[in-house]
Symmetry: C2
Subunit: 453 residues, 2 copies
């Protein structure tokens, strides 16, 4: 890109743009990285520098960027129908996508409600669960349970079931009351001398106690299956998820699976719930749904929930919720093509050796002086930075070590975005073993540069 | 479309899709209209029948459907960069769009925060306003004021400032406390013998009283400028908006303008606030932002608000909010092309004669026996159905007269979607005078068919 244009764009970025989850003062002297081109698993900046997109652009990209099949699918759809309202009207892309999603998601999820992003998909699930109990005459069942460190989005309903203090505590006066339970975070429990199995057992006991006391006022339990992503890439055992499904059944509480981040192969199976062999009552999908190309989300529900809203109009049991672009044909066409690529390329089979390789090699970082708590599943792997590993002591917040990893990563051709001092990769599913070798080599160099090795 | 395919799709729609704002039992025998093609201001169903899209597909479409320039803009963007995360990274389409939006929106709105739909744009505004006061040490300023009959979206924060009982009352236990004030709805006041000017005066007095008593705990006043759309296409005088701006200034309260529906020319000016000559402190845009093609929204803020978040990271004043597809390059490229079409085709000039014509002719419906309260502005016009017009008596809810208008409209080649018994048109800006003649002629026939004439 022409240097004048680049400078003008960077000036205008500073003048006019408010970036998400960003302290804008961080960019008073530092420029935002101006990306000009995205292709495969690479991003290219305005100077032509090439970066591995090791975070799949906020965990969305699946088959690589600017995929020619996705491009063709959008163009075909634009030639026929851009958008049409989805109340009173319907169209082939949304119908075919719904059929497909019911087919591939866990058994019992039979109805598809569209919205635009993960937050709205979660809001839809919460509202459906809440209203379901109301229709059953159990209006006191109106509270939700969530895990410490959970993240389900940034709209007020989603924040109300969020457990990341840094993001969520400030908005407390606007939130509805929910119950927070302990996360089965293996590392945190291990620090207290509790084994993984014991931790699961303790956490399930806590939920059982809560349910025994409060089930009458609990509508649903909302959870990120297997990986609490934004909360710090916490990977927990599937036995916890199995236990929660059993408890929800026993106490007549909806299990709401938020697979916005972990869905679509990221954990090595198409959906994370499959690791536990369970079906939730409501399931939220987004991010990878469109292969990471454009916004779209769905909330899938059981027939049992759907049927509680199905009645004569005058009973006012309608689920009054909708967004202008609900079921947007362009996004649906993209999602359909995404799922066809999954099938045609046998993507889930394809990632078995690569994810196995990633999980074998990532623990090598444990040997480094300031690195510990290495964990992962599928195409996700994470590690924490410690000032004193033996004591489990982190660096002071104002050292901003994670932020230095982002900056230093850029110099090594890596797009990284640590969560605090948690460094992670969240790889596009098309990443090869050779790519993984390159990425790990570069990460190692970043850690050496920062004297963390 | 092949009849077998059509039947299969309609069966699958029934089996798998949960439509927004829809009592699904309404479609037990009645099919959803299966739209196959969208072009210009027409939609075509699977049998090849052609319909005028008189509601701009839920108030989003601007230049007609499947516009060739928009199609080209998407394809060009897809050839370069589908999507990249917007935290730590930036790109030309979002920067250029931000610059443009700051240029064309009311003065003082200088920073652009992206999200995906109207609900999230409103949530962003509410959260920014709330957090602004917190940063100023005024944490007790944490409540919002909204108008009776207002609609700002369906996520829990947006519902908390919603005034449509039918949609919102059921979720009461999940909502945060807000203050509702009377709508300056001219017709409702007229029914009580109060003139339009007096009504504005009374409504402003009510707000003044509230502010005098509660300003210390009020963060912001959220409003749909000039038209309360989903609440029943209520068109109110700009003098009310001017008065609210003055009161907000006097009592140090943010004015949040939700122009999601009314923005982008729909009222005859680019933004509805221009009718009142005012600048809000926060402004939400979506729907027409992408010419109605795909989801995207923005919240614009003043520098004053932005600056209250601008500080060293360790002060934790960051606005922790974001969505995966924040600033999606595809959507930004579409929005930029939309704004170029506005300029190239001089769209705001172009709609002056058509909107004038619409506003001249629509009142002819007042002559019909069961039609009253005809009103409108720009390319929006509405009327109400009455069982007894003289007495202002509506039909019983279970007659579902508005729903009959939707069904009968289809037979006449019209896409209509009455709000209860309010019939309205919300025309694409490219609608011509000839089109308007055709549409009004057809609406008249619908009313005759239903014995409302």
């Amino acid at each position: 890109m022409d240097i004048q244009l680049k400078n003008k764009l960077l000036k205008n970025d500073r003048d006019y743009v408010w970036h998400p989850f960003t302290q804008m003062k961080d960019y008073e002297k530092q420029d935002h990285v101006l990306i000009e081109k995205a292709e495969g698993i690479y991003l290219y900046d305005a100077d032509g520098s090439k970066y591995y997109d090791t975070v799949s652009s906020w965990w969305v990209n699946i088959h690589g960027h600017s995929h020619p099949r996705i491009r063709a699918a959008i163009d075909k759809q634009m030639s026929e129908m851009d958008h049409v309202m989805f109340s009173g009207f319907t169209h082939r892309p949304a119908i075919e996508l719904s059929e497909k999603l019911v087919e591939i998601t866990p058994e019992g999820l039979n109805k598809v409600f569209f919205s635009d992003n993960g937050s709205t998909a979660v809001e839809v699930a919460l509202k459906m669960s809440f209203q379901y109990w109301l229709h059953l005459g159990k209006k006191e069942k109106n509270k939700f349970v969530f895990l410490d460190n959970s993240y389900h989005g940034d709209t007020i309903g989603a924040v109300s079931v969020g457990g990341v203090e840094l993001f969520h505590s400030v908005f407390k006066p606007l939130l509805f009351d929910s119950y927070k339970v302990s996360s089965p975070n293996p590392f945190a429990w291990q620090q207290k001398g509790v084994s993984e199995d014991e931790a699961v057992s303790k956490c399930l006991d806590e939920v059982r106690s809560l349910f025994e006391e409060k089930a009458e006022e609990i509508a649903g339990f909302v959870i990120e299956p297997l990986v609490q992503a934004a909360g710090g890439m916490i990977v927990y055992p599937s036995s916890y998820l199995i236990g929660i499904r059993e408890l929800c059944d026993e106490f007549d509480i909806h299990l709401i699976a938020d697979e916005v981040a972990v869905g679509f192969g990221r954990t090595g199976k198409l959906f994370a719930c499959e690791h536990a062999g369970i079906s939730p009552d409501l399931m939220c999908l987004s991010k990878g749904l469109t292969a990471g190309v454009m916004p779209l989300s769905v909330t899938l529900s059981t027939l049992k929930i759907f049927d509680a809203f199905y009645d004569e109009y005058e009973t006012f049991k309608t689920f009054f919720h909708g967004h202008s672009f609900t079921g947007n044909p362009l996004a649906c066409a993209v999602a359909l093509e995404n799922l066809k690529i999954f099938e045609d390329n046998k993507v889930i089979e394809m990632i078995q050796p690569t994810s196995k390789y990633l999980q074998q090699r990532f623990p090598e970082f444990s040997d480094l002086k300031h690195i510990g708590n290495v964990r992962g599943i599928g195409m996700i792997a994470a590690m924490d930075i410690f000032e004193d590993k033996a004591k489990g002591l982190n660096y002071a917040t104002n050292k901003r070590t994670g932020y230095q990893v982002y900056l230093t990563g850029l110099k090594h051709g890596l797009i990284m975005r640590p969560l605090g001092d948690t460094i992670y990769v969240w790889l596009p599913l098309c990443t090869t073993i050779d790519d993984i070798d390159q990425i790990l080599y570069k990460i190692n160099n970043v850690l050496i540069d920062l004297e963390l090795a």
